[in-house]
Structures are given as structure tokens and as C-alpha cells.
């Protein structure tokens, strides 16, 4: 028998207090009808390769009844060169493309293709409370660049349990993309030497396209995804989250600018073929995150496991530690490790004369690889609701440069185009 029937309510009370002091009110208080604006400028630079400038703006307006509208706008300006999939060769290589562009790569160097593009994207989220414990979010996205157009939408429901310690989330989304490579999509596994340049001459009969450069005339890609999530408050300091995502792609999944080298028995390049990927992909991801609030600092841990029917399995570990600097802002070091297996149809090259596989790609992003990111962010509160932050990170990606399949002269070359990238991000958030 108990000495007293008085219940200890401290833990439950602490959680309720946490919700009122650090919960939604913190994000929206004090005034209701304000715009909260986050702006950021991201600079991503791969050594000797791609540079990306990405200004982004995110505005959130919260209405009196808790309804929020978020508008997201991003512009990416990309320029530089990206590996085209071909292996290094002992002779200078020249490439042509169906649009009539030609480029040349020096001997022994990585085979890259230069590009210059700008992408603009706009998204809107609309969240409203359905009742005391459930919320609905509707979102829409549209983005466009020279050879790519995408439109999508999603619907997410989330529900809290009565004590607000558990939140269930369920959602679905879709997107429809159109890829319109300049000069039309190349023949899958077609030889590059068989392509007739169409830019210079009066060769107008391109067959199916028939000259109408309508935005809908390109190759189509369909994406659908489903998300199931669970967020659990463990105690006033700890929170954990588990998400499962299923992603389905169908349609044109090739990268029209990627090539595979066709090499002879000595490893010498004799020609190139365009890649061909399956026209379907089923991907799954499990994501687990854990946030722990120390008296001042905060630790974020997360792990993601991804697997798909292209044979790719990946693991991502991420840790961030937010260190409060006693009122002088915070410092947040981060570390991320990524590792993936190669796709079943990944090839470093194709052998001349051998039967063509059903699918093949030499895109380094489908190869076995490891990536490590190390970075730090410094944030400083500005005024009552604003924050200024700067983040700098360094990403290094490595893969198998000397695979067993390498033959002849290819054994001398590093066949994996490693990647070193620097990321600098400046953000400012404020309320209007």
C-alpha cells in the first residue's frame, strides 16, 4: 500500500509547459498578422567544376486562427562543368551533341561537359488546423529551367495525441516533370558518332518533334511519394522522429547529357554511347532523428537508410551540435557521412563488340561512393525575432577510381571523378 495517493504530476506538467513556452506560440508569437521572412544566399562551388549561386526567400504569414501560408522562392544559377560519364582517354576527345555544340577534352583529363543554366522555383504551403489536434498542409511547387520543367503538389495530415507528446504524420505528393534537352533526347544507348548535328544546316525535319518547341514536347517523368511519420516527445529535453518515405518514378529517368565510353581491348576509347536507365524506380527511405536539449546547448543526431530497385543502398549519418555562446549567438559544428552502393546497371565503360546491356549509365552519382561533409554555422540573434547566420562547409566525395574491370590503359587512370566542394551560406530572418 502506498503511503500517499498523491500523484506525481511533475513530468506531465513539465511537458505541458514545454509545449506552451517552446511550442507553436514561440514560432508565431507575438503578433498574429505578420510576415516572417527568411532569406538566404547559398554559394556552392565544386573544385574545377560546378559553381551554384542560390538566393532563396521564404515568407510565412500566420493568421489569428493558426492558419499559415508559406511562400518559397529560389533561383539557382549554375555554371561550370560536370563529368559526362566518359572515361579518361589517351587522345584528346572531342564531343558533339545533337544541338550542334561541340566541346573538347584534353588527353588524360576527366571528361566533362560545360553548362550554364538558371532555374527558378516557386512553392506555396498552406497549413490549417482542422481541429484542436489535427492539421492539414497543402503544397504546390513549380520550377523551370532551360531544358526542364516541373510541377507538383502534396497533401499532408498530422495529428497530435491528447497529451501532445506524439504526433503522427501522413502525406502524399506527386510531381510531373518535362525534360527537353537541347536538340531532343538522344537515342538510348545510341552511338554518339551516329548523331547528325542539327544546329548548323538547314536540317529541319527532326521527325516527331516537328519544330514545335512547346514546353510539353519533351520527355516526361512522373513522381509520386508517400510519407508516414511519427514524432515523439520523450521528455522535456529529448525528442525523436521516425519517417518512412516511399518514392516512385516513372518515365524518362535518363540524364540526356551523360555518356558511356566504348573502349577496345586496350582501354582506348573508340566511341561513346548515350546512357539508358530503367524507366521505373521504386525508392524507400527510413529516417530517424533525435534532438536532445542540454541546459544550454542542443544536439541533433540523424540517420537515414535508403534503398531502391536500381540496387542503390545508402546510409547517411548526421550530427550537429548547437553551442550557445552566452547571449553572443551560437556556434554549430556539423559532420555528415554518406555512403552508397552502385546501381546494378552502373558501368565505368562499355566494351566495344560486347552485347549491349539492357541498361547502362556511367553517371558518377550512381557509382559506389562515400561523402564526408564538415562544417560550422554561426548564428546571431538580431533584435527580438531576427537571426543572422553564416554557414561554411566542405564536402569531399570519393569513389572507386581503380575498379577491377579496368582494362588496358584505363588502369593508369583514376576512373572516379572525386568531388571537393565548398559551401557558404548566409541567412537572415526577420519579421515584417
Amino acid at each position: 500500500m502506498q503511503l500517499t495517493d498523491m500523484k506525481n504530476i511533475r513530468r506531465a506538467l513539465a511537458l505541458a509547459t514545454c509545449a506552451v513556452l517552446h511550442g507553436r506560440a514561440d514560432a508565431v508569437a507575438p503578433a498574429g498578422d505578420d510576415w516572417h521572412v527568411d532569406s538566404a544566399l547559398l554559394f556552392y562551388s565544386e573544385q574545377d567544376r560546378v559553381d551554384v549561386w542560390e538566393p532563396a526567400v521564404l515568407g510565412t504569414r500566420t493568421y489569428d486562427d493558426g492558419e499559415t501560408v508559406t511562400v518559397r522562392g529560389v533561383v539557382d544559377t549554375m555554371s561550370g562543368a560536370t563529368p559526362n560519364g566518359a572515361v579518361p582517354s589517351s587522345k584528346p576527345e572531342t564531343y558533339t551533341s545533337s544541338s550542334g555544340n561541340a566541346y573538347t577534352v584534353p588527353a588524360g583529363a576527366f571528361q566533362t561537359k560545360s553548362f550554364d543554366d538558371t532555374r527558378a522555383a516557386l512553392g506555396v504551403d498552406w497549413t490549417r488546423n482542422l481541429d484542436r489536434l489535427t492539421r492539414r498542409k497543402l503544397s504546390g511547387d513549380i520550377s523551370a529551367e532551360t531544358d526542364y520543367f516541373s510541377i507538383g503538389g502534396g497533401l499532408t495530415y498530422s495529428a497530435d495525441t491528447e497529451n501532445r507528446m506524439t504526433t503522427f504524420t501522413g502525406g502524399a505528393g506527386f510531381s510531373f516533370d518535362i525534360v527537353s534537352p537541347s536538340g531532343g533526347a538522344p537515342d538510348e544507348l545510341g552511338l554518339i558518332s551516329a548523331v547528325v548535328p542539327s544546329g548548323g544546316g538547314g536540317d529541319d525535319d527532326e521527325g516527331e518533334g516537328g519544330g514545335e518547341d512547346s514546353i510539353f514536347s519533351g520527355e516526361k517523368k512522373y513522381t509520386a511519394n508517400i510519407l508516414l511519420g511519427l514524432t515523439q516527445v520523450l521528455n522535456r529535453r529529448a525528442l525523436t522522429q521516425l519517417n518512412y518515405t516511399y518514392n516512385f518514378n516513372a518515365g524518362y529517368l535518363n540524364d540526356p547529357y551523360k555518356l558511356l565510353s566504348v573502349v577496345d581491348g586496350n582501354g582506348e576509347t573508340v566511341d561513346h554511347r548515350f546512357e539508358k536507365r530503367p524507366d521505373r524506380r521504386n525508392g524507400n527511405a527510413l529516417y530517424w532523428a533525435f534532438v536532445y536539449h542540454l541546459p544550454q546547448d542542443v544536439v541533433h543526431l540523424s540517420y537515414r537508410y535508403y534503398w531502391d530497385d536500381w540496387g542503390i543502398r545508402s546510409n547517411t549519418f548526421d550530427i550537429k551540435y548547437r553551442m550557445e555562446l552566452g547571449g553572443h549567438g551560437y556556434l554549430q559544428p556539423e559532420f555528415r557521412y554518406y555512403t552508397q552502393t552502385e546501381a546494378d546497371f552502373f558501368r565505368y565503360f562499355l566494351l566495344d563488340g560486347a552485347p549491349l546491356p539492357d541498361h547502362a549509365s556511367a553517371d558518377y552519382r550512381l557509382a559506389e561512393m562515400d561523402g564526408t561533409t564538415v562544417g560550422v554555422k554561426y548564428g546571431l540573434p538580431v533584435g527580438k525575432d531576427g537571426e543572422f547566420s553564416v554557414r561554411a562547409a566542405y564536402l569531399q566525395q570519393t569513389g572507386e577510381g581503380h575498379p577491377n574491370q579496368a582494362i588496358g590503359i584505363l588502369r593508369q587512370y583514376d576512373l572516379y571523378p572525386g568531388l571537393d566542394a565548398t559551401i557558404v551560406q548566409i541567412s537572415f530572418s526577420t519579421r515584417f
Partner: protein, 299 residues
């Protein structure tokens, strides 16, 4: 507007700045262990702005805020903003955790009980008539919509001051986390030790000898501290003292409650709810506090 709009004041004390202002019908203090006057002024401004915002928004003595709209809805459903909804959720949790004792609708009992030190005890009939307008269980709360029965009222006064303390402290700490002590009419929160590593010292007033006696001193490194009590608000009849803590279930003052309960907890809101519920337990206040395993003092 003039006369009663007290401007905040700031003075240098023994190694810290003391800011004072009045709001929520009480004298409020902020102790700031910072060097420059400019920093102290900025911190005090944050505290004053946030406290006055909360007072404007949740005071039941105003006719231009959400509490007024709720209390004068005449049975209509009222849509509330997210912050109010969070506080209502909190109040609902407190009602459940205290098994109905902590109730933000119990304020209407003040219409019949006037704690002016006299011996005027209301008639049971009036108390029962008023009790029909008391009880969170009679309220329909379906976030973000609140519906009160006509005649019912809510009063967030029992939470508002502690909420203002915690909010002010959190906002000030974003600007400068160094040793801050927020004390709004005796409900307080400490963000951390002073810069030399020593904790702030808080004296606990003895309700039997207000301003003269002390129940003790506590060195608070971080956390909230509140005192609930009836030192000056009671009725006395036939030698029985009726404190101003009313039981929303009987409509009568809780019997056998200590004169004051002081509790230390992680936040001011938690301390405030625990000290209030302890008072509502009456003669079992100490038993309740022991079960909570929190530091406490009874007056």
C-alpha cells in the same frame, strides 16, 4: 495619458543593474548582471514590451482583447489565435492533472466571495447558483475554437504572470544569457548564475510578518520560483480564517491550506501551477508537494 503610466526605471546596484516597472497590477523587477547601461536598457525594454503585450492580450480588465471577446461571446464559438490556444491547452492539462482543482473558469466565484478581511460569508444558495457557471468540463474547447456557456468566464490571470516571467526571461536570454533574474510580483525565474559563478539569492517572505520576517533564503542557479498564499486576502468569522483560494468544486475556500506555499521548479509556470495546486489541496498541501519531489517552503 500621463499620471499612471509609470516609466521603467534603471539603477546600478551591487555589480548588477536593477530595472523596475509596473504591469499586471504588481511591481516588477529585472536583475541583470551586465556591464553597460545600454545593454541593461535593451534588456529591460524587452522585458517591459513582452510583459505589457501579455497584459494587453490576456488581462480580463480590458475590453479590447481575446479574453474579453471570449467572456462576452454569449455562448457563441470564438476562434482563438495560436498563442491563446497554447495557453488554453495548458490550462486544460492543468485542470486534468489537478483532478479539476486548477480551473481557469473559477473566477466568477469572486462575484460572491469578497476577501476584504471582513466576516461577510456568502449564503450557500448564492454560492450554488454561481457554481453553475464554473467548471472547465462545461466548456467546449476544440482548438482553435472555444465555446463558453453564457455567464461563464475564463481568467488567465493565474497563469499570465508566470507566463510573462518565462517569456520575458527567454526573450532576454536570446539577447544576452548572462545571469538574469526576472521577478514579477514575487513570481520569478533565473536564467543562470551571475558572471562570477555565484547564484542569485532569493529571500522567502514570511506571510505572518510580511516585509519583516523571512522563511529562508534560497540560492537559485537556474529555474523558476513562485509563492501562492493568502497573506492579505482572507475573511475571518467565528475564529475561522477563510483564505482566498477557492475550490471550484465546492465554491468554498479550501480549508486547512497553509498561508503560503513557495515552490522551486524548472520554469516559473511549473512552479506557479504546483504552488497553486498545493494550496488547492488544503490540509494535504505538504503531502502533495512531497509527492512532487520539488523544493518547497510552507508559510
Amino acid at each position: 495619458m500621463g499620471a499612471d503610466a509609470h516609466e521603467p526605471t534603471l539603477e546600478r546596484c551591487d555589480g548588477y543593474w536593477l530595472g523596475r516597472f509596473s504591469a499586471m497590477a504588481s511591481p516588477n523587477e529585472v536583475l541583470m548582471d551586465v556591464d553597460s547601461r545600454a545593454d541593461a536598457e535593451a534588456l529591460l525594454r524587452i522585458a517591459v514590451d513582452e510583459t505589457r503585450r501579455i497584459e494587453r492580450k490576456f488581462s480580463r480588465y480590458r475590453d479590447d482583447n481575446i479574453v474579453h471577446r471570449i467572456n462576452h461571446a454569449g455562448g457563441e464559438r470564438i476562434l482563438v489565435d495560436a498563442e491563446t490556444a497554447d495557453l488554453l491547452d495548458f490550462a486544460e492539462r492543468c485542470h486534468a492533472l489537478s483532478e479539476g482543482r486548477f480551473d481557469i473558469t473559477s473566477g466568477v466565484l469572486r462575484r460572491v466571495w469578497r476577501f476584504d478581511g471582513s466576516d461577510r460569508i456568502p449564503e450557500q444558495q448564492r454560492i450554488e447558483a454561481t457554481l453553475r457557471f464554473v467548471g472547465w468540463n462545461r466548456v467546449r474547447w476544440a482548438r482553435p475554437y472555444l465555446t463558453l456557456q453564457p455567464g461563464m468566464e475564463i481568467d488567465l490571470g493565474g497563469l499570465g504572470k508566470e507566463y510573462a516571467v518565462d517569456r520575458s526571461a527567454a526573450l532576454m536570454a536570446r539577447f544576452r544569457a548572462a545571469g538574469l533574474l526576472v521577478n514579477y510580483g514575487g513570481d520569478l525565474y533565473v536564467t543562470g548564475t551571475r558572471r562570477d559563478g555565484t547564484p542569485w539569492t532569493v529571500g522567502i517572505d514570511d506571510p505572518a510578518a510580511t516585509g519583516r520576517g523571512s522563511l529562508g533564503r534560497i540560492r537559485l542557479e537556474r529555474g523558476g520560483l513562485t509563492t501562492s498564499g493568502d497573506a492579505r486576502r482572507f475573511l475571518l468569522r467565528d475564529g475561522v480564517r477563510y483564505g482566498h483560494i477557492l475550490d471550484p468544486m465546492t465554491g468554498w475556500p479550501v480549508a486547512g491550506a497553509p498561508r503560503s506555499v513557495t515552490v522551486v521548479a524548472d520554469t516559473c509556470m511549473e512552479a506557479g501551477v504546483l504552488s497553486t495546486i498545493a494550496m488547492l489541496q488544503g490540509s494535504r498541501a505538504e503531502e502533495f508537494l512531497q509527492a512532487q519531489q520539488v523544493p518547497y517552503w510552507l508559510g
